[in-house]
């Protein structure tokens, strides 16, 4: 079964959502009890891999039936579910279907006074967290004890190696609008689930105008959360961090 899990890991690197199915119960004579705990991996289009040959041999003929296959492929892509599938009139299998997820990842650009409480709060929300800044004096584990990764480098260097995916959440809180512009320009075409940028409406307009000159579409600009955070009347850095964290939760939970 080790190879099966390695295959799952490999598929996780791809862009398609993947789901595992585990046999958790068997009713009927046709299917042997020793398939309990066996698995297969699939996405919304096809079965990718079985955990063993005996599993594949046993299930293959049933999975050829459109109806059975559709019941599986229509599984929820975000939540796990227990599903009983009738193979024929005498046989039924219960599967535990479960999406395979990478922990959502928060990247904070800028290690200033908003970033500190934001990282603290978001560490409670099951994110893995990276902070990027080129100023070593701000970026250390004293300031960010809850961060998973601190990257002391120029933003330009960061983007040379970054791979932003659909479970990435990006918060742009750098020390100046020229840096905000630089970061936003590099991430605006990414698949990130959330992009938020701090600033007054005047600063946001300055950044957006420059991006328009770069031929960035209005549609893309509208997807950026700026001004950042839910409007709860925040004043202090910690309060602003709470507003940003709340907005991130709302996006993550599709509100």
């Amino acid at each position: 079964m080790e190879n099966f899990f390695k295959k799952v890991m490999k598929e996780l690197e791809g862009s398609k959502r993947i789901i595992t199915a585990v046999v958790t119960d068997i009713e009927g004579e046709e299917i042997s009890e020793n398939l309990l705990g066996e698995m297969f991996l699939f996405n919304s289009e096809e079965i990718i891999e079985f955990s063993s040959d005996k599993m594949e041999e046993k299930l293959e003929k049933y999975l050829l039936e459109e109806d059975i296959k559709n019941q599986l492929l229509s599984a929820d892509k975000t939540e796990s579910e227990l599903k009983k599938i009738k193979l024929d009139k005498d046989n039924q299998i219960e599967f535990f279907l479960e999406p395979v997820l990478d922990k959502p990842h928060l990247t904070v650009f800028g290690a200033g006074h908003i970033a500190q409480p934001l990282v603290k709060i978001c560490s409670l929300l099951d994110f893995s967290i990276t902070v990027v800044d080129d100023r070593e004096e701000f970026l250390n584990f004293n300031n960010f004890p809850n961060a998973d990764q601190l990257l002391t480098l120029a933003y330009k260097e960061y983007f040379a190696n970054s791979n932003i995916k659909e479970n990435d959440f990006l918060v742009i809180v750098t020390r100046g609008h020229q840096y905000d512009y630089q970061v936003l320009k590099n991430v605006i075409d990414s698949q990130a689930k959330y992009i938020g940028m701090i600033g007054s409406s005047r600063k946001i307009k300055t950044v957006y105008d420059k991006l328009r000159e770069d031929n960035i579409s209005e549609e893309k600009l509208e997807q950026v959360h700026a001004p950042i955070g839910l409007d709860i009347g925040s004043e202090t850095p910690a309060e602003i961090a709470v507003a940003i964290a709340a907005e991130i939760i709302a996006v993550r939970r599709d509100r």
Partner: protein, 104 residues
Amino acid sequence: MRKEVLEKIIEYKEKGLKIARVFIIQAKSSSPRNTGTEMLVTEKGETFGTIGGGSDEKKAVEHAQYLIEKNCSEKLKLTLTRKDAAKIGWVCGGQIDIFIQVIE
């Protein structure tokens, strides 16, 4: 299944350890979020992750060790006491079904 659990399974298997993955498949309570909560158990009873702690987790770990020995996977029903339920944030006690999947 979460990525860090997946990584841990691969790490354990590369070390040649016998393990089981224990996960909640059904939770009869007002909090469906607990479904899918998972932990790994080794043959020696070491754990990675938690399904909520308390005496029920202890029961699950012991049963997982027994099943690793037998090399078979099985469903297990656990009835949570009020106290244990409170620990994982449930107001009332309840019943959870867990599955112990031996990973050979």
